[in-house]
């Protein structure tokens, strides 16, 4: 599977079947079907198994045979659950899934500094559902997201859910816009606003990236968040999300990284900060090995 995993797993009729099952039988029925579907994908679709291999061979380097097959199933099923959960919220309402926020006080403290912030997200847990926890900020969040994804993704986090007390509007900045949306992003941060970017995938054709160690080998991570933070003096808030139970997620403020201002343009100056992020991600993979959803080879 490519980086855009969610769109490649399943067809239109498959999604419709799940939506119908959710309406008729709730999440239990949907999960029951999901487990069977995922088992079939893993058993009979080699491409699905192969997509899990790069990550699993680094996370579980000594696993072979049936153990590896079970890990592949767990990873695919775990990802499938996040998609079903999003469908549940879309079909039955946000109250079906509870989203909590760990590190609320730390997050609010950063907000109250008035400098703005960059939320550094990752493809773990269900960042789409967990984003609703950002309603705690009571401020608009500008998400850097490709335009074709926005309509697919937006309904999840526009729903009221979990601990959201007030509606938090979201804006989308398309990085395929003029100069990668650079001026929009700068404009948000200069006004003390909140920007949200993904930190674990380098966009296609992007040459500005950093080499850091992750699960034993070097991977490339995008540089833009750290450069933006240094250019504007804005803190980076590293967020992770995890599925805690069938009906609950938790968004976690994993760290606040203050990149010194005025570091310039050279990639090497940002490596220590990206490495810090990679270490958070690695710790996450140790604790929640099947909720890491990069189904491609990060290490090539």
């Amino acid at each position: 599977m490519s980086q855009d995993s969610s769109k490649q797993l399943g067809s239109e009729w498959g999604y419709r079947a799940f939506y119908l099952l959710i309406r008729l039988g709730g999440y239990r029925a949907a999960y029951a079907l999901l487990h069977i579907v995922c088992a079939c994908y893993v058993l009979f679709w080699p491409q699905v198994r192969r997509s899990c291999v790069p990550y699993l061979t680094h996370r579980f380097p000594h696993s072979v045979g049936f153990t590896r097959l079970w890990q592949q199933y767990k990873m695919v099923d775990s990802f499938g659950q996040t998609m079903v959960d999003r469908a549940i919220v879309g079909s039955l309402g946000a109250e079906q899934i509870h989203v909590s926020l760990q590190g609320r006080q730390q997050l609010l403290k950063v907000r109250d500094q008035g400098r703005g912030m960059i939320l550094l997200m990752s493809h773990v847990g269900s960042w789409q559902l967990a984003m609703s926890a950002m309603g705690a900020l009571n401020e608009p969040i500008h998400m850097v997201m490709h335009g074709h994804a926005s309509s697919f993704e937006r309904h999840d986090y526009e729903q009221d859910s979990g601990e959201v007390k007030q509606e938090a509007p979201y804006r989308v900045i398309d990085p395929q816009g003029y100069l990668g949306g650079a001026f929009e992003m700068l404009g948000v941060l200069k006004q003390g606003g909140i920007l949200s970017v993904m930190g674990d995938r380098v966009p296609e054709h992007e040459k500005n990236c950093l080499q850091v160690a992750f699960l034993g080998r070097q991977v490339s991570l995008p540089m833009s968040a750290y450069h933006l933070a240094s250019s504007t003096g804005v803190p980076l808030v590293v967020l992770t999300s995890r599925k805690c139970s069938a009906t609950s997620y938790e968004m976690v403020v994993a760290d606040v990284i203050n990149v010194p201002e005025g570091l310039g343009r050279r990639p090497e100056v940002f490596v220590p900060y990206a490495q810090r992020y990679a270490e958070i991600l690695e710790k996450y993979c140790q604790e929640h090995p099947y909720q890491f959803f990069n189904f491609f080879n990060m290490w090539k």
Binding site: L179, F183, M223, S231, T232, G264
Partner: protein, 84 residues
């Protein structure tokens, strides 16, 4: 040093443009894409440098797009903002 020469010096030194001298940057050469080949991160850095060195803010894309077309355009933008 003229304003255009200052801008070219900033491009070379602060944006780490290698294998090029200020004399080789034409005043009307496109800064982004074809031409000098700067990218979005360079745009961010350049906006910060313009403010730092000349006290001029590029507020948004509406200002940035014409201002960052070339060294000539940027110099003109800075002069207009400085009221010269």
């Amino acid at each position: 040093m003229t304003l255009k020469e200052q801008i070219k010096q900033i491009l070379i030194e602060d944006l780490n443009l290698e294998d090029i001298t200020a004399e080789e940057i034409a005043d009307d050469e496109p800064l982004f894409g074809e031409g000098l080949g700067l990218d979005s991160l360079d745009a961010v850095e350049l906006a910060v440098l313009v403010q730092k060195n000349f006290g001029v803010e590029i507020k948004d894309m509406e200002e940035g797009r014409p201002a960052l077309q070339s060294v000539q355009a940027l110099a003109q933008f800075i002069e207009e903002k400085q009221g010269k």
